[in-house]
């Protein structure tokens, strides 16, 4: 390896990596156990232990190997799968079905998810009403806690929320990794503006009709969470849309392109998170002096956040979700995690350490509950 590149490697020694992992070890221990470990239930104890160790091993490996994306992807994908499992399990327990009826809507029993947020803003501002039929406080997936968690995460991470906090992103991230090489190589980045158009449309239609139109008509993740009971032509058409969009944008296209197509071309919350990238302290920087313009970063970016022009100008676009794929792919270590105000090329290790700690904290906080639930269910089958 080139001596300069070797010096710039993000790898750490075993002892140093352990030292860096120690604060995360303590923090995850506190919020996973709630500060009061209860070892009375063997399956639950085992689930907590496996989750706790698994997370901390992944965080340790990020420091030890100097690589980010592949370890982030493991927890991100497991998070998406486990969350869907938890949601479905809850729904089966509560209403014995994955579908909800009009009565469930009237009684505000629908679990809230962060994708509703873009549709809530205008009606909340103008009519002081929340247009989602869920619980505001208390109960499973209530509105206030989800909004607060999203708000804090997006203010800190910007669009990093889409790779470190979203419980759906792992689906298309996972499918985008199925093939080693993409079958479809050229997709115009013109389409990356589509989420803004979707945002515009759903925000307006939701404000005018006072219904969460994205959830009612478009959301592909209805296919793996809950959906409206099919009782009419309209509800059948909706179910058709959910399944087609899930199949097309979450499964087939990511597998063929190695890109996260749902996140890139549809998600309206992703559009809002892109805007919050403008205010977050964390960013990805390009050191133009070190860059040899091989454009490997452009090729691997799953969200069309980098173009050759961006690389030449040394600027990463607002579409960046800080997943770390480009950072790991750069042989010259020219692209790196950075903090706004610190020039590109300097304090790379410091910036990465701070970013990793913050972003991993969020993903661990968001995902641990659902992962423990899934593991507990699995262990209960054997213990």
């Amino acid at each position: 390896m080139d001596e300069t590149v070797k010096n710039l490697s993000m790898k750490k020694s075993f002892g140093k990596s352990l030292l860096y992992a120690l604060p995360m070890f303590l923090i995850t221990f506190v919020f996973i156990t709630g500060g009061k470990p209860d070892f009375s239930d063997p399956a639950g104890t085992l689930a907590i232990l496996v989750t706790f160790l698994g997370m901390n091993i992944l965080y340790f490996l990020m420091h030890y190997t100097g690589k980010t994306d592949k370890f982030r992807a493991i927890i991100f994908i497991v998070f998406a799968l486990s969350l869907s499992f938890t949601l479905i399990r809850n729904m089966l327990e509560i209403r014995h079905s994955m579908s909800f009826s009009q009565a469930d809507i009237v009684e505000c029993k629908i679990p809230f998810c962060h994708l509703v947020i873009p549709m809530m803003i205008l009606p909340a501002a103008f009519t002081k009403s929340i247009i989602f039929p869920g619980t505001i406080l208390g109960g499973f997936a209530n509105i206030s806690s989800m909004v607060v968690l999203w708000l804090v995460a997006t203010l800190v991470l910007g669009r990093g929320f889409c790779s470190w906090g979203c419980f759906y992103g792992g689906w298309d991230d996972g499918f985008s990794r199925l093939r080693k090489k993409p079958v479809i190589k050229k997709i115009s980045d013109y389409w990356k503006w589509l989420p803004f158009a979707v945002l515009l449309m759903v925000a307006i239609t939701a404000a005018l009709s006072l219904t969460p139109t994205y959830c009612s008509w478009i959301c592909p993740f209805k296919a793996v969470t809950e959906f409206e009971q099919v009782t009419s032509m309209e509800s059948a058409a909706k179910a058709g849309v959910f399944i087609s969009l899930f199949g097309g944008l979450v499964v087939i296209l990511p597998a063929l392109t190695r890109k996260r197509t749902q996140c890139s071309f549809l998600c309206p919350l992703g559009a809002i998170n892109s805007l919050s990238n403008k205010i977050t302290p964390f960013t990805v920087k390009i050191d133009k002096k070190a860059c040899n313009e091989c454009f490997k970063c452009v090729e691997v970016c799953p969200l069309f956040a980098l173009t050759p022009e961006d690389v030449k100008s040394g600027n990463v676009s607002v579409f960046c979700s800080k997943c770390g794929k480009c950072v790991d792919a750069c042989s010259k270590k020219a692209i790196h995690y950075g903090i706004k105000g610190i020039p590109a090329g300097s304090m790379k290790k410091f910036s990465r350490n701070i970013f990793l700690f913050t972003s991993f904290f969020f993903i661990a906080l968001f995902s641990s509950g659902s992962i423990i639930t899934v593991l507990k269910s699995i262990f209960n089958l054997f213990i």
């Binding site: 115009s188 503006w193 803004f196 158009a197 979707v198 307006i204 239609t205 005018l208 058409a237």
Partner: protein, 207 residues
């Protein structure tokens, strides 16, 4: 009215960004004060509204005369919705399309006082797929009031973008807004395809 308002809102931004640069110099030419700008805009918008109401009346009358059966009305509107919505989507995703403003011919008008009125007429009669969709809707409405409301929705949605026209020249990211507006137009097209299919199915079931 909601669907036509959305259509106006989604296609209005593209309309503004395609034609805004043509409108802007003419509307602003020789205008020193806010009063003149407001007067010119008022004439421009009023002309559009009048033309739309005239179109609503004409189209509703012809629709009533030609589409005598309700089922036939469902079939025709369904097919036309789908056809024009596909045109609208093609208009929004066709990468080789060179947007051209019909109001360019305004250069032929010598009387500056007539320019806002002329612009209003040309802008309203620019037969884009969005207007064709509204015409279809209007022609298949039961009452003339419904026909007026359909055009009123479209007028309100598309006019919103003309309000900050004096600032249009200062947009730093015109291209981005144009792209988002164009894509939103395509999405509005999808809404009308669904509407068209629903009408067709309604026609088949009732027929």
């Amino acid at each position: 009215m909601l669907d036509t308002f959305i259509l106006g809102l989604s296609s209005g931004s593209t309309c503004l960004l395609t034609c805004g640069m043509v409108f802007f110099p003419y509307l602003m030419a020789g205008s020193a004060g806010t009063r003149k700008i407001i007067t010119d805009f008022s004439f421009f918008l009023l002309t559009r509204l009048i033309v739309y109401f005239l179109l609503a009346t004409l189209v509703w009358y012809f629709g009533k005369t030609i589409f005598t059966s309700a089922i036939f009305r469902n079939y025709i509107s369904g097919i036309l919705y789908i056809l024009f919505a596909v045109m609208l989507i093609w208009y929004s995703v066709g990468r080789n399309r060179k947007p051209d403003c019909p109001a360019k011919i305004v250069t032929m008008v010598n009387n500056k006082k007539l320019v806002p009125v002329f612009l209003g007429v040309v802008n309203s009669l620019g037969f884009c797929p969005a207007l064709l969709l509204i015409l279809t809707k209007s022609a298949t409405q039961g009452t003339i009031t419904q026909s007026y409301l359909a055009f009123l929705g479209f007028f309100a949605g598309s006019s919103l973008y003309f309000l900050p026209l004096p600032l249009a020249g200062r947009f730093r990211k015109k291209k981005v807004f144009e792209t988002i507006g164009t894509l939103a137009t395509g999405l509005a097209g999808i809404i009308f395809i669904i509407k068209g299919i629903t009408n067709l199915i309604g026609g088949i079931i009732n027929g």
